[in-house]
Every structure is written in C-alpha cells, then in structure tokens.
Symmetry: C2
Subunit: 326 residues, 2 copies
C-alpha cells in the first residue's frame, strides 16, 4: 500500500483517464463503445511484456510503455490496418510507486500523439511477482483489404522495410558490447531495441500491392517461415541483399557472419512482405514518397521452408531461426 498513495481508482483517474478518447468514456464505464465506419473492418491484436523477460527493471518507464504500444501497432501495420484505439492491463508489484506509473502514462501520452490512438479501457491489478503489461490494439482497414500471411504465391518477390538486425545489436550495446562503435552508432542501435518504429504509414499503403505480410518480431527467417507455412510456399533469401544500417555494416566488416545473424534476430518490427514483380515500380515510388528504404531480398517459389543463400545460391546455415518463450 505504501508505494501507492493514490490507490487503483486514484491512479486510473489521475494518469489513465486523461488518455481516454471519445469512446473510452473517461474510463468511467464497465466497457467502451466504438463505432466502426461503414465499409471498414476492425483489426485486433494483443501483445504482452514481462519485466525481467521483455524489458529490464531499470528501463525508463516511458520507453517501456511506448515499446508496448509500438509492438502492437506494428502488428496492425502488418495487416495493412491504421491504428485507432488500445486497451491496457497493468499487473504491477506494490514496490512500483505512483511516480513509475506517472512516467509510464506520460510515455503513452506521447505516443498517442505520435500515432493518433487513444485509450479505450483498462485494468490495473496488483501482483506479488514482476510487472506484466498487456496491451490490446484496435485498428481499422477497408473491408476485405487486410493483408494476411496466407497470400504469398510462387513468383512473388520478398521485400523488407528499413534495416534488420539493429535491435539485436542494440541489446548487445545495452549490455556493454560494441565499444568499437562511435557513440552515435551505439545510441542509434540501442534506440532501435528500446523504441521500435512501427511502420504504420507503410502498412496501409501496401493494400493492393502486397500478397502477404508479417512484421519482424521473431526474426526475419522465422516470420518469413510463418508466411510460407500459411501460404503453402517456400522462400529463398539472399544474404547479401539484407539491408543493414550503417552501424551494422561497420560491425559486419569485422564479423562476416553478421548478415546471417541479422536474418535470425528478432524485435526489428520492420514489415516483411511478398509482392508480385509487377508491383516493383509502385513499391519504389512508395519508398521515395515515405522516405523509407524498401529492399527486395528474395523470392517465393513452390515447396516448403525458408533458405538463406549466399550470392552463389549456396545455403547458409543459421544457428537460431527466431526464438520462442518458455
């Protein structure tokens, strides 16, 4: 009780009620009401983070909140949906005081502005264990336009946004690694781990262009594997085509296996999609318009499984294709 002078209702009223949008009814009801515009469908997703598993106790609470929101917005973007609302569960240990909650809510407020979303409802509970945070995000998409994982076809090209591997390298930086890099390089990589940028502008623009899409959370090869399994196809990725950031390129110069490692690393939250060859000019134009790198990294073909190949087409062994919990 000591850490929270405000109590559950007080915390909701002071920190979370101001985050509520019109549908959230100021969080003063049992549930929230949301209208779905005609011709639109809703898209829903949920992701959780556990202290000590997905983030560290000393991580800034505002960054924890923003990452929790952003990984969910990335899932919406991967369906081609535009984010609108979210619901939040916080299970917090008593030791986390009102100040932590205030900073957590401030992070949410900041990203609500960045992404045009608002809080629809929530639950705050106590736990004798580490904090567990769960967020359900709701977005909308034109009816029938959601981009599934299951639509990839032989002949499609495989594309990825941005650069990959940065988040895993950022975690290494946060653990004291990569002292050979400049301070700006290290800061960039750490930020990529702590504060991913969901591709919310890109996702909805890929309707009509991409046949299948996922975001990179488990790792490029693992998430491509999900697309292939859902679509009943195979994929080949060319290691040399994988887009690396300048900082990652500098590491790769000394570590030849880095591209393979980046292909297996999780948490980049870039969009990975399959599109027919005739979409290439439109994708190039879109990349220019959004100022976002889009890279063709391989091809879909008949069969099953995902292969990473060198320039000569020889398969490269990958140690750990993504990771799972438990």
């Amino acid at each position: 009780m000591a850490a929270s002078g405000l109590g559950e209702f007080g915390r909701i009223r002071r920190y979370f009620a101001p985050l509520a949008g019109p549908g959230g009814l100021g969080l003063a009801d049992d549930a929230a009401v949301l209208a779905c515009p005609p011709g639109r469908e809703l898209v829903a997703t949920v992701d959780a983070m556990v202290c000590g598993v997905h983030y560290l106790p000393e991580d800034p609470p505002d960054l924890v909140a923003r990452k929790l929101l952003r990984v969910n917005l990335s899932d919406l973007a991967a369906m081609g949906a535009t984010p609108r609302f979210y619901l939040l569960t916080t299970a917090l240990p008593a030791a986390l005081g009102d100040d932590w909650v205030a900073r957590f809510a401030a992070g949410l407020a900041q990203d609500q502005t960045n992404y045009g979303v608002s809080l629809l409802g929530g639950d705050s509970v106590a736990t004798p264990g580490p904090a567990v945070l769960s967020l359900t995000a709701l977005g909308e998409v034109a009816a029938g336009a959601a981009i599934r994982r299951s639509g990839a076809r032989p002949g499609d090209r495989i594309w990825v946004s941005g650069t990959i591997g940065d988040a895993a390298l950022g975690l290494e930086v946060l653990r004291g690694g990569h002292g050979e890099l400049s301070a700006p390089d290290r800061a960039m990589l750490a930020a990529r781990f702590q504060l991913p940028e969901p591709r919310v502008a890109l996702g909805p623009r890929l309707a009509g262009l991409a046949h299948a899409m996922a975001d990179i959370s488990d790792g490029l090869l693992a998430d491509l594997g999900h697309i292939c399994e859902a679509s009943g196809v195979a994929a080949t990725v060319t290691a040399a085509a994988l887009p690396l950031s300048p900082a990652a390129e500098r590491i790769a110069a000394a570590e030849p296996g880095l591209r393979a490692r980046a292909a297996a690393a999780g948490d980049d939250y870039e969009l990975l999609f399959a599109a027919p060859p005739e979409a290439t000019p439109a994708l190039a134009a879109l990349a220019g318009e959004l100022g976002l790198r889009l890279s063709e990294i391989g091809a879909i073909h008949a069969g099953a499984g995902v292969r990473l190949c060198d320039a000569a087409g020889r398969e490269i062994a990958v140690a750990r294709p993504g990771y799972t919990h438990f």
Copy 2:
C-alpha cells in the same frame, strides 16, 4: 523448458488455435479482422486475474479460465452488449506444464459454447513470477443503445438481478467457514465465487428500460457509488430489500449484520441498474420471461453519495464499501 514439451507455438497450435473463430484466422496472422454489422457498435472491455491475488494456485485451471472470461462478459452485459469475441494474454511461470494449459483451454472451450463467443487473438509469454491472465472481450450493441453509468436520474428506482453476497460467503466456505450449512448450500456458495454467471441474457434486454447500469464487481454500494458519481445523483438503498439466496438467508438468521456485509461485498457479477418507475411492469415481465429474480432495492435522488438504510430510514454504517487493489 521442462514443463512445456510443446513450446509457445506448439501450445498455441494445439490448445488455442482450435478456439479461434472465423475472424481469428486460426491465430495464424499478426492480428484478427472483425466486421461490425451495419447499425451496430462494438463494446470493448479488459479484465485481468493474478494467481495468488484473484485465484489460488490449486484452483482448477478450467474454472480459472471460465471465471476470467465470465467477469469480462459481465462487463459487456453491464453495457447492454451481446458478447462476440475475446483476446487473451497468458503470462505463465515455467512450472505450469502443458497439462495446466490444456485444462485452461478446455474451460475456455466450454464457455465459448455456453456464451457464443470465440477467440480472436492472443499472446503467450513466460514470467518468473505468478501467472497473470488478461482477457479483452468484444461485444456488440445497437448503435446508440449502450447503457452507461451516467444516465441515472432523480426518481429512478434502483434494481439488482439475482442475489448478492453469495460470492463473498462462497470464499468463506472455500476457506473452511460455514460448517453449519448443508453440503448443497456450501457448494452453491462456493460455485458463486468460483464461477459467476454473467447476466448476458438480461443486459441487452434492458436497453430502453434502464437509464444507467453497472455490474457488481467491487460491491453493490461501491458500484452504485460509481453510477451516482457518473450521473451526479445520490442513492438510498433499503437493507431489508437486498435479495439474498436461501443459503445466505440462513446465515443472516444468525448474523443480523449480514445484509450490510452483502451490500459491501464484491464479485457477485449481478447487474445493478437505475430505471424509471414506469419501467416496473416491463421489468417484472422480463424477470418472469428470463426466470431471473429482479429486485427493487432503493431509489435515486438529487445530491451525492450512497446510503444504506434500515426499514425506518436510519442510515446503517458499512465497514468496507468495496475494495481496491494495491
């Protein structure tokens, strides 16, 4: 790793994917897509349960799952909404094996049939602490027909469904109390705590009859307080009018203060609503049609606050008006 031979993806595939409805895409996508029928609005709510706080480690996993779902369906009912979908986060310690998850999923499957809902999406994560379960429920309601907490007006009568206080007495039974009762009485009270019955049939039928509504989770007086605060009104409840189950009446015969205790006790998940006097005949007919007791327990008037009174109109002091976490 030892406890889960299946791993996260295996568990999702074996236990949770079969629970997915048409919108859930077999849980094989980043997010789920749901259509909202024309003229309807969506209603969303989230509630969490923590092992050791909201349930006990030895509680049957199927009952834990069903209670988690039902407390959320109760929130939807309290808005007058019909339940449709849910999303689920499970943060589980490694010690909980696949068997626990299998039984948890079996409970969900059973109540999906009972309530006509299906799983839309989820996240499974590991935690070094106790299990934390969070469920987001989605329902629908005719556009504009959702029943808020804020509509109570002076002159309204206060009504409650079913009986109150049973869940708190059931917890006492589970802790070894009330040995003076018969085995069926004890079983009934324990079931009321372990497996509440959300009033999903009643809630949507109160559209056009009730001015304001909430479900009883924090306690009748506390939840009535939320209605009064949101509506800017006061309420007086007559203790003698509070509906008790036959088992609770037997306890009340030896414990004169039981009605006051029941008025403050949480977790009954009955519906509490304010309706104008002219709605009384329709409410009586509805009670007969649904086979569900509806009791008039007091009145709304101008002012602020909630009072519990005896038959002579004298205020009864209540020790603990509901409870909060932290």
